[in-house]
């Protein structure tokens, strides 16, 4: 048999075999596993804990004892960190970067692995269920569910991102600078006509209010974006009986969504903390201060 026919026959056998599983969607809310005194533990929580433990063990095992001449595992982790640093440092700026970088690397690796673990065999298909009248098995309580396929999981991540943003920005930028950045009149006083300047102040004030609203909405959009992509992907896979093409798409989506979450967190911090790009007034200020020191 030629290679093409062999591949084709494997493909056909796979499709026929997987059609025995009734193509059903996935329930939006995670199934409860255990109830301990009024506090429910869902399957996505348990999966999250187990995978996080595995992830920590994997990274620690890869690195072993960190040394100046890296072992292979340490080299892998180092190359990942260098790559992320190269992308994220220009966005955040040098001041806030040391504080923000550990958080961002954690976000990236965490979300990446939790997205990808949803593609393993057995996720969402092993569990308790009922057998209906025709003898088909319906799964009502899966045991394994990706952490990011549960809206609660992604809200937790988004809230951590938002809290970290608030802390880093207030620490490295200062409340006065933040208020000026949001509401301050950025028109050049020497170049605008005198009658126009107060009007512009009001305009910038309103713009600042809109900006505050869009800032408050950030945890919501971060969480819904990640949840929608991962849960939608899982739903797609289960609903179309696990066609391999969608597996590749879900691999790509997993990487992209992890990258996007990390990048957006970095961008939100960098919008306020990055002064290298171009606050010309501040560059002049720093320039005068440097001259004064000399």
């Amino acid at each position: 048999m030629s290679r093409v026919t062999k591949l084709l026959s494997i493909f056909v056998a796979y499709i026929l075999g997987s059609s025995l599983l009734l193509a059903e969607g996935v329930a939006p809310s995670a199934a409860k596993l255990v109830e301990i005194g009024g506090f429910t533990i869902t399957n996505s929580m348990v999966t999250g804990w187990i995978i996080s433990l595995l992830l920590v063990t994997l990274v620690l095992w890869l690195i072993g004892k960190p040394s100046v001449v890296p072992s292979k595992g340490q080299a892998v982790i180092e190359s990942l960190m260098e790559g992320l640093r190269g992308i994220l440092e220009p966005i955040i700026g040098k001041k806030a970067f040391p504080a923000a970088f550990p958080l961002l690397v954690t976000f990236f690796i965490f979300i990446l692995f939790h997205n990808w673990m949803g593609l393993l065999p057995g996720v969402g298909t092993i569990g308790n269920g009922v057998v209906d009248a025709e003898g088909h098995f319906h799964l009502t309580q899966p045991w394994i569910r990706p952490h990011n396929a549960d809206f609660n999981g992604t809200i937790a991540l988004a809230l951590i991102s938002f809290g970290a943003w608030a802390i880093i920005v207030f620490k490295y930028v200062g409340p006065k600078m933040i208020l000026w950045d949001l509401f301050g009149n950025k028109a050049d006083k020497k170049e605008t006509p005198g009658w126009l300047y107060p009007f512009l102040s009001i305009v910038f004030l309103v713009v600042g209010l809109i900006e505050v609203f869009s800032i408050l909405i950030r945890p919501f959009t971060l969480s819904v974006r990640l949840f929608g992509n991962v849960f939608g992907g899982e739903n797609l896979l289960h609903g179309t009986s696990f066609i391999p093409v969608f597996y590749f798409m879900e691999l790509l989506v997993g990487v992209i969504q992890a990258f996007v979450f990390t990048l957006l967190t970095a961008v939100y911090i960098g919008l306020l903390a990055n002064h290298e790009g171009g606050d010309h007034a501040h560059d002049e200020e720093h320039g005068h201060a440097a001259e004064a020191h000399h």
Binding site: V224, R225, G228, N229, V260, L263, L264, V267
Partner: protein, 66 residues
């Protein structure tokens, strides 16, 4: 006399249409930018990913909330 009818989740459909168009336009302009200046490929990629994420996010919102 009924000429045409549209049923189903129209609210989500319009939201996702907007999101898809937005992401496509960003990709179009990103490809053009890289074509003009291939050395800036990395930076253009970062900008494009950020823009696509923000545009797609609202579409996902429409899908699951409408």
């Amino acid at each position: 006399m009924l000429i045409a009818e549209i049923t189903g989740n129209i609210a989500s459909a319009f939201g996702l249409l907007g999101a898809a168009l937005g992401v496509g336009l960003i990709g179009f302009k990103a490809a053009e930018a890289v074509g003009r200046n291939p050395a800036a490929s990395g930076k253009v990629l970062v900008q494009a990913i950020i823009g696509m994420a923000l545009a797609e996010g609202l579409g996902i919102l429409a899908l699951f909330l409408a």
